[in-house]
């Protein structure tokens, strides 16, 4: 019988089975950022612990960093405190720090892949739930808490149970104007925000096979929003080509040896799964969330679902969502007025995301009542986008072109919603208060859809905007 990637990677990294029944799992790559690490370093000091593999931990700053200026000290004293702490901790523990302005700084889940740190067959952990992003490369990558971060610094290991495995096959092909973001929102809508609890998701099928690496990252990124701690795509030629020539990728004949090993880690044809789900790619429309969790999503041409369409245990959350969002059941989501548009985050802050948003931005100007931000995912993304003139396209269309960071995805820096503002956002969570105002409202959608909403001043079907303005060209 064949084995899945999850089983192979797990076996290769198992140090031993613990008496508790958990696995002591070796973690090949540890990424850290300023928000969830300082307490772990403090625990290390208090408990007299030493870091075991300092060369396998890499650090950056992303959550709290301002996107308008890099001037130190930061205006926010607490943010400055976090920044100084990670600088000091990296120095003291011998950890490589990709500092702001180094040319390498970025959102931790954008930076890992673009530096070639993220590779197939690895185990990867980070004190951030969107670590599932790295699964796009066929890595077993998941988020951890701060005490586990301490364990990892001290032992390069975690005590953890292997999750069950669900295969999600997306068959057919995506229609025009439909992107990876729509695919993952659709998956979460179908399987629910708790459907993945206890599972890892293996995404596959023709739609995933044809996706670029950046698109696969968008899908894997939001696995955790569906309840799955990790999600991955089996590595293939697209994965290997993406990695070739990256700073931390193997070189010359070692690269060929790597490809052989990477290929061997992919799931075998006869691998067994605890569950298999099949979805049709052609049935996915540009998707928008209307509620307070990412599963409360609909196609842009649908109406907000009525309470009776929900299972009894989801009705209460739906009622809560109508009230919080100020939206009524049985009304279209299209035409919902927005105040803010945000393009960025570890979900959709990569070059191809900015290219798709720019393609729409070229067609018009941001509506007068809308504040629109574009925040590149990393300094490298910003450089590449500027080399193509995307920053100019955005600026001319009335978008603000910012410096890289997490920004308004979770609003730990000065970029925040105000009051009950509605934000069309390419980020990953539409939780209550997520974007910095306790009453702020978030509509999640793809970068193209956010750019279209910015121009229209309201939720609109990007397919129509592209079709109308770009003429007969296939959108």
């Amino acid at each position: 019988m064949g084995k899945s990637l999850l089983e192979k990677v797990w076996a290769a990294h198992t140090v031993r089975e613990l008496p508790s029944g958990q696995t002591q799992l070796f973690i090949g790559l540890h990424l850290i950022h300023e928000v969830t690490s300082p307490q772990a370093f403090q625990m290390m000091r208090e408990q007299g612990l030493k870091i075991l593999f300092p060369e396998r931990t890499f650090a950056t700053v992303d959550h709290i960093i301002p996107t308008d200026t890099r001037r130190r000290p930061y205006a926010d004293e607490e943010a400055e405190g976090m920044m100084s702490a990670i600088e000091r901790n990296c120095r003291e523990f011998g950890i490589r720090f990709f500092d702001a302005g180094s040319g390498e700084q970025g959102i931790v889940h954008v930076l890992g892949p673009e530096l070639g740190l993220t590779q197939p067959g690895m185990t990867i952990a980070c004190g951030d739930s969107h670590t599932s992003t790295h699964g796009a490369f066929g890595a077993v990558a998941f988020g951890i808490g701060t005490s586990q971060l301490r364990d990892l610094l001290a032992s390069q290991c975690l005590a953890i149970l292997r999750p069950k495995l669900r295969r999600i096959n997306v068959d057919g092909a995506l229609g025009p104007g439909v992107y990876a973001k729509d695919v993952i929102l659709h998956i979460i809508r179908r399987l629910g925000v708790k459907g993945g609890v206890g599972y890892a998701y293996e995404y596959g099928g023709p739609v995933l096979e044809r996706m670029s690496m950046e698109a696969r990252m968008t899908v894997c990124n939001m696995s955790v929003e569906g309840g799955a701690r990790l999600g991955y795509v089996n590595p293939d030629a697209a994965t290997f080509e993406f990695l070739r020539g990256r700073p931390f990728a193997p070189v010359a004949e070692d690269f060929e040896a790597a490809v052989t090993w990477w290929r061997s880690m992919a799931s075998d044809a006869g691998a067994s799964y605890d569950d298999i789900v099949r979805l049709d790619g052609a049935g996915i429309a540009p998707t928008v969330t209307w509620g307070i969790n990412p599963g409360q999503a609909i196609g842009v041409d649908e109406k907000i679902p009525a309470p009776e369409t929900f299972a009894p245990d989801e009705r209460e959350v739906a009622q809560d969502a109508y009230a919080y969002m100020g939206l009524k059941p049985n009304t279209p989501i299209r035409g919902t007025r927005i105040d803010v548009a945000f393009v960025g985050s570890c979900t959709n802050g990569r070059l191809s995301d900015l290219q798709e948003a720019a393609r729409v931005a070229r067609l018009g100007h941001v509506a007068p009542h809308v504040k629109a931000l574009v925040v590149p995912g990393s300094e490298a993304v910003a450089r590449a986008a500027e080399a193509e003139g995307l920053d100019q396209i955005f600026r001319q269309a009335g978008f603000e072109w910012r410096l890289p960071g997490c920004s308004m995805c979770l609003a730990m820096n000065p970029d925040k919603l105000v009051g009950r503002q509605v934000c069309a956002s390419t980020s990953n969570r539409n939780f209550k208060g997520r974007q910095g105002s306790p009453a702020g409202r978030t509509l999640l959608m793809s970068p193209a859809m956010v750019a279209a909403a910015a121009i229209e001043g309201a939720v609109v079907d990007v397919r129509e905007m592209l079709g109308k303005k770009e003429g007969s060209r296939d959108p």
């Binding site: 290769a12 990294h13 198992t14 140090v15 031993r16 613990l18 008496p19 508790s20 029944g21 958990q22 002591q24 070796f26 090949g28 928000v35 969830t36 300082p38 403090q42 408990q47 612990l49 075991l52 593999f53 926010d76 607490e78 943010a79 405190g81 976090m82 067959g121 739930s129 988020g143 951890i144 808490g145 005490s147 586990q148 364990d151 001290a154 032992s155 390069q156 290991c157 005590a159 149970l161 999750p163 925000v193 708790k194 929003e225 309840g227 193997p250 070692d254 040896a257 790597a258 090993w261 969790n293 245990d313 609003a411 730990m412 969570r429 939780f431 209550k432 208060g433 997520r434 306790p438």
Partner: protein
């Protein structure tokens, strides 16, 4: 390194936190995560559900005098509690408010793991049992609820409900190894052997 603390039973006054899919942003909003320590998080737990912008109480159950109690507390929750972000700030805030264990229908994986590293059991019960327990607590909260890790039961006002824990969690709590650092550090030689077998750690250069 911390001492071995075996957790066989947690007893305390219950606090019902009703609702499915309560995310960690709601438990502790990101704006309170800018401190470099976990100290003081307890006062901000569920802050936006408890207070309006002017700091006036919204009548949340945590501020309801009927549910006020001293000593350790046990939260009773519904489905997928703690979903979203991996922030340990969420269990830390609950713990610092006084919650030492949680009973619910289900918990998000990362949240549950984070609670375990703090010695806070997250025990799961069936929907009907949680519903009955929640009703019993809301009717009369002035009794101690007992979470028994040994027998995997929860008892309140004379009624006993069967519960489960993720594999491994029970023996970690009972054995006092829920703080995994000590265990993980016992195998340094095996850790180095595992590392030596992984070709990517030498950048795929020949051995």
């Amino acid at each position: 390194m911390s001492q071995l603390i075996r957790i066989t039973q947690v007893k305390g006054r219950p606090i019902p936190l009703r609702g499915n899919d309560i995310d960690t942003d709601r438990i502790i909003p990101a704006r309170f995560m800018k401190a470099v320590t976990f100290d003081g998080l307890g006062q901000h737990v569920f802050v936006d559900a408890r207070f309006d912008a002017e700091g006036r109480s919204l009548g949340h159950v945590m501020d309801d005098p009927r549910f006020e109690a001293k000593g350790p507390r046990i939260a009773v929750v519904n489905k997928n509690f703690g979903c979203g972000s991996s922030r340990e700030h969420a269990p830390q805030a609950l713990l610092r408010w006084g919650i030492k264990a949680l009973v619910g229908e289900s918990f998000a994986d990362i949240f549950c793991g984070n609670c375990l590293t703090l010695g806070m059991p997250c025990v799961s019960a069936g929907e009907a049992d949680v519903s009955a327990l929640m009703a019993a607590v809301e009717e009369d909260p002035a009794h101690d609820l007992t979470v028994d890790v040994e027998t995997l039961t929860v008892t309140y006002r004379g009624a006993t409900y069967p519960v489960s824990l993720p594999a491994g969690a029970r023996s970690q709590l009972l054995g006092g190894t829920w703080d995994a650092t000590r265990i993980l550090l016992q195998a340094e030689e095996q850790v180095r052997q595992t590392a030596a077998r992984l070709p990517y750690l030498r950048r795929f250069a020949p051995e």
